[in-house]
Every structure is written in C-alpha cells, then in structure tokens.
Symmetry: C2
Subunit: 192 residues, 2 copies
C-alpha cells in the first residue's frame, strides 16, 4: 500500500473522502521520505510546520548541557508540531528512529484546505482533542509513577516502542539512566 492510500485509509476511519477531496490531498505533495537517523527538526527552526507520521518512528529530544534528553516518540498516525505559535522558534529536535514517511504541512496549506473542505476542520478538532486527552493522561501517569511503574506502563501500552527504539532512548524518555533501566528489566524478568 502506498503512502497516499495509508493516509486516505486513516482519514476514512473518521469520515469517507470524496474523489475531489482525494485529488486535492494528492496535489498538495505532502509526503516526504526520511532515512533512519535523519534530523527533521532542530532547536531554533521555524515552527510553522506540522508533522504527521504515516510510517516509521520519530524521536523528539532537547539538548541540555550537551546531553540529549528524549521527551517523546511519534509513530504511525501520530502528529506533532514544534510550537502552536508559528512565529516562535523550536525548542527541541526531532530525528527518525527508523526510515519514515511523514506528511509535512504548514499553516498556509491548512488554511487553503480548510477553506475548500470545511469538514476537515471537524476532523482536525477531533484529532487535537484526542491527542490532548492522551498527552494529559500520559503526563498524569508520569507524575504518579515511579520509574519502574513508568516502564511497566510503557511495556503494556506501547510494546511496539520497546521493540523499535534503542534502549538508551527509552531510558532517557523514562528519565533514568540506561543502567537503571537494565536493573528494572532484570527485576521484572525475575518476577515473571
């Protein structure tokens, strides 16, 4: 299945697309292929850009005192933007953990599209609300949990990330050292 069909399939979970809508979506030339390891966003970059992952895995990270601190992973059908204020500058980096196909858009493209197809605004509102609820819930769980509980939550809810992402990125994401993560994994393996 090509990238375009994947996008159409995703959108059609929420609303069927007309031939006209499909054709305008195709015209936009939204799809970009990035190789594993490629940095697609840097600190200081313009923020009028929106990423929607169709295939692959992206890692977001800050550089603090020369050290990378991973804060998020985005995989199939997840989107992220560096900042809602499109006049701002990005505070973080994003790079591909795998070869990835990513839909890249900006506010001008979105405006044209919403004007032509207002019902896409409904879709975008729904997706924003879903993502907002997910991020809030993840934040709550992070606050309420010990590092070990955070790891268990990740294994239970995002088992794919454990397989796809190198362990030192997972450790950084959980706010612990790779050594602590190995210890946690060791303890849990004994319990099974």
């Amino acid at each position: 299945m090509n990238s375009e069909s994947k996008l159409f399939d995703y959108i059609e979970q929420f609303m069927p697309l007309t031939a006209d809508e499909r054709s305008v979506l195709s015209e936009f030339n939204l799809f970009h292929f990035f190789e594993k390891g490629m940095v697609i966003l840097e600190e200081g970059d313009n923020t009028d850009i929106n990423f929607f992952v169709l295939e692959g895995c992206v890692r977001c990270y800050y550089i603090v005192d020369g050290e990378e601190k991973t804060t998020a992973f985005y995989t199939e059908n997840e989107n992220f933007a560096p900042d809602v204020d499109i006049q701002a500058k990005s505070k973080f980096y994003a790079s591909c953990v795998e070869n990835s196909i990513i839909l890249v858009s900006d506010s001008k493209m979105e405006k044209v599209f919403f004007e032509k197809f207002p019902r896409f605004e409904t879709l975008c509102r729904l997706l924003s609300e879903r993502l907002l609820a997910k991020v809030k819930s993840d934040f709550d769980i992070f606050k309420l949990s010990s590092p070990e509980e955070r790891y268990i939550h990740l294994v239970e809810n995002r088992p794919d990330l454990i397989q796809r992402v190198p362990q030192h990125f997972i450790a950084s994401y959980l706010g612990i050292t790779p050594v602590s993560l190995s210890r946690i994994r060791g303890r849990l393996a004994k319990k099974v």
Copy 2:
C-alpha cells in the same frame, strides 16, 4: 462584569460574535457557580462533560492508596474534560480551590452549537491546539527539570497559582513533600 460578558469577551479575542450567536449561547444555561471546596468531578463519573473555568480555580487529583495526588490546576479561560472517550469513566477528581464560575457542557450541546454555528468549530480547534501545545511543553519541562527547577518554572510562569493555591497542593503538584517544598523556598529566599 457578569459571567456571560466574560465568556463573550473571551471568545471575541478570537472572533466577533453576532447577536444571534450571543443569544444562543445565553439560552444554553451554561453557567454554574460552585463554592470553594466543592468536588465537581469524581473518579468513576461519566466523562461526557466539559468544564471551562470563567472565574476561580479548580484542582484535579487522583486518589492513590488513600492519598490525594494533585496533577493539574485550571483557572480563568482554561478548560478540561475527564476523558476524550465519552463512554469512559473519569479516573480523577476535580474540586474548587476557590469559589468558581464554570461553564459546563456536554457533547450533545456542542453538536447543536457547532451545527448552528460552524465557525465555532474553528475556535474549538484553535483552542485545542493551543492547549495541546501548552500541555506538551509543560510535560517536557517537567521531565527535564529537578523539583527545584519545576518550582522556579511555576513561580515564573504561574505566579498567580503560588498565591491562590495552598502550599501542600503545590507540593503534591510538583511531586514532592510539603517539607521539601519549604526547603526549596528557603534556599531560593537566601539566593535573592
């Protein structure tokens, strides 16, 4: 200024309202007054409800092993919902830190309103996107910071909360004990 005018003023920062829109908003009977200390949402409650704070301050918290763990505060012009899945049950509680005026709505009301005034969907999309960016940024900062840095960030970005919210709720929100918070405040006071 009454609650209704406050709501209109808030919306008009984003788009002017017609007389018709104002009148429909008034008819909905959206405004509710809650006294300080009142619990407005409990664990297990239905989630088809949306809160928009017009005046006052709401605290969200989980009860873990009999202990309240504060995860969020919402004040003027901030909104929250227990879950995006309106079939779910709330996992957390919300109570008023101050006497509060809160706009309470549900999905049925929103649907009627969006159908009558589609451009409100644009507003809701924009607000969701703004809030999403804010929550993500807060989450990143929380992950990247020590408890002292989290407190400094709160003082700099939400000085009103420091004044409005009892210190033991602030400590819980920062993930530390009230004693640790007092120590941090002591250390910072000496630096000034």
